[in-house]
């Protein structure tokens, strides 16, 4: 190719301007005049524009073809690393009854829902069959600390096993903190276990969403956040899940995070999984209602940021995608990362495609006692699941946000009974589109939002190497 040829691109109106994106994940916002020059092939008169479009891969020639290929390679690099995130469920028992719980938990007193030592050992043996040179074991539940002995066993056995494999090994724990004590905490800190909990907002809202049989969930959470941060000088992160009751309280929720000295917030929207599907008529909302809540939250967060530099996780994930740096947020990958990026192991050794996939038999791939890693990865079922998570349907392929976005077959299945969603009605699609629209509109403006988002883009906190996950990647 001696002359430039046009690469494939997609377009979307952002206000009066035109956003163009390409498969490599590059993007440009052009005013109408420049966009018309681009799309009608009249670039001879504006060399600066032509060079910009070459640099971003909208025009391809011999000089930049390798660079565009390398960018594309980076995008898909995670496909070749082996599974690095391993979600282990030590128990399905829980002492909370969160109204949106996606884990189909059972009551604390139930028997037969804990992982035993033999299964734990087999699970770790299976995990280390992954060729990934980074392994993160993330404990979820139920409430994992209800089977704390197994957590400690897994950590010790994994460390021992890793002496032979010499991988970059890390651990994370997702907990409601109700069963935390100083002994456990010291052990977790000694082993550099990443900690994450849930804080849904002020006390009344938090306790309404997260019903704790044995006490006051909010009090436990804020007590331990303070202890961990101040007395132990260790980091703990928190997330919240937005329910209908949350919608009027965006300021109070953000203030709660600021008051607890948390560095970032993630305003998760509901999925139709687990208990959430049964309580939907009480707790769910439309995509429009959620986006209204989310944009108001972002506006408020920008407003207070000078004095309280708290970040929004979703904005950072999006900015990382726009910048073209790796962050292992599987919702924004295509294929999504199920199987190839993460696997989930439940208490009886069953292996599922991902954390969300453990709700359904359809997403069960095998068992640690019966299958090798190779068998699981190369099975027809795994290949089908991976294929179904590629966003190559017609509406996705035509969407300007395709290079930054992804689909979730588990959520599709929960919503419609099919791995492939009916996109015009897909809640996730409508919400993510709204988020991308908001971010691009702000990036194309002048004002405090652009200034802050540019700063965040320059100093991202969600970057990880492929395989070394952002600690909350699965959340």
């Amino acid at each position: 190719m001696s002359q430039s040829i046009y690469n494939h691109y997609r377009e979307r109106k952002i206000g009066d301007s035109h956003l163009i994106t390409n498969d490599a994940g590059n993007w440009c916002i052009l005013d109408k005049t420049k966009f018309d020059m681009f799309r009608f092939g009249k670039l001879e008169n504006d060399l600066e524009l032509k060079n910009l479009l070459r640099k971003k891969g909208f025009l391809i020639d011999n000089a930049n073809l390798q660079e565009i290929t390398d960018l594309t390679k980076t995008k898909f690099n995670y496909l070749f690393k082996g599974t690095s995130l391993h979600i282990v469920v030590p128990t399905l028992r829980c002492n909370h009854r969160c109204v949106y719980c996606h884990s189909n938990v059972v009551a604390q007193h139930k028997k037969g829902y804990d992982m035993d030592m033999e299964t734990a050992k087999k699970t770790v043996d299976f995990i280390f069959q992954s060729p990934s040179d980074t392994i993160t074991i993330e404990f979820q539940g139920g409430e994992p600390l209800l089977n704390y002995d197994i957590i400690e066993y897994i950590i010790e056995y994994a460390k021992e096993t890793n002496k032979k494999h010499k991988k970059l090994l890390g651990f994370d724990l997702v907990t409601n903190l109700s069963k935390m004590d100083d002994t456990i905490l010291k052990y977790l800190i000694k082993n550099k276990v990443g900690l994450c909990t849930s804080l849904d907002g002020p006390e009344k809202l938090h306790n309404k969403n997260r019903i704790y049989m044995g006490g006051n969930s909010y009090k436990d959470v804020v007590y331990w956040i303070k202890e961990i941060n101040e007395d132990y000088n260790y980091n703990i992160n928190a997330l919240m899940v937005t329910t209908r009751d949350s919608l009027p309280y965006y300021k109070e929720i953000i203030d709660e995070y600021v008051n607890n000295n948390l560095n970032w917030i993630k305003l998760r929207f509901l999925s139709n999984l687990g208990f959430a599907s049964k309580t939907a008529d009480k707790i769910n909302y439309s995509p429009k209602e959620y986006l209204d809540f989310w944009t108001k939250s972002m506006d408020y967060l920008v407003k207070i940021n000078k004095n309280h530099p708290i970040r929004d996780r979703m904005v950072e994930y999006i900015l990382a995608k726009l910048k073209g740096v790796w962050c292992n947020y599987t919702d924004f990958q295509s294929p999504c990362g199920a199987v190839i990026g993460q696997l989930a192991y439940v208490q009886n050794g069953n292996i599922h495609t991902c954390d969300e996939g453990r709700q359904y038999e359809m997403f069960r791939l095998g068992n640690v006692f019966d299958n090798t890693y190779k068998e699981i990865l190369t099975s027809n079922q795994s290949c089908s699941m991976i294929a179904s998570s590629v966003n190559d349907t017609l509406l996705c392929d035509a969407c300007a946000y395709k290079p930054f976005c992804g689909v979730c077959p588990v959520c599709n299945y929960a919503d419609s009974g099919s791995l492939v969603s009916i996109l015009p009605r897909d809640q996730r699609c409508l919400i993510y589109k709204g988020m991308f629209d908001y971010i691009f509109t702000k990036l194309n403006s002048v004002g405090p939002h652009k200034k802050l988002f540019d700063n965040w883009m320059e100093n991202l906190t969600v970057i990880s190497q492929p395989g070394r996950e952002d600690k909350t990647a699965s959340l």
């Binding site: 179904s388 190559d392 349907t393 509406l395 009974g417 009916i422």
Partner: protein, 76 residues
């Protein structure tokens, strides 16, 4: 055409086979069988909802569902 017959508790749909082929229709009928019964005669379908309250919308939802299946065909 979609015609709702409340007296007989059924919805009559005349489908154009050039636009909705048999495999799509049969697939949609199978997916809806938990909420209604079907009688099919060439391009004419009679939908009998299992719940009376569904009669207003189920015919329209069925047609939307078929359109969804048509568009997702390559991905199913």
């Amino acid at each position: 055409m979609i015609k709702i017959d409340k007296d007989k508790n059924q919805i009559n749909i005349s489908l154009n086979n050039h636009l909705y082929n048999d495999s799509i229709i049969n697939r949609a009928m199978k997916d809806f069988e938990s909420v209604c019964e079907f009688k099919k005669d060439n391009d004419h379908i009679i939908i009998i909802p299992k719940k009376q309250k569904d009669i207003e919308l189920i015919g329209y939802e069925f047609c939307n569902y078929m359109l969804g299946l048509i568009n997702n065909q390559g991905n199913l």
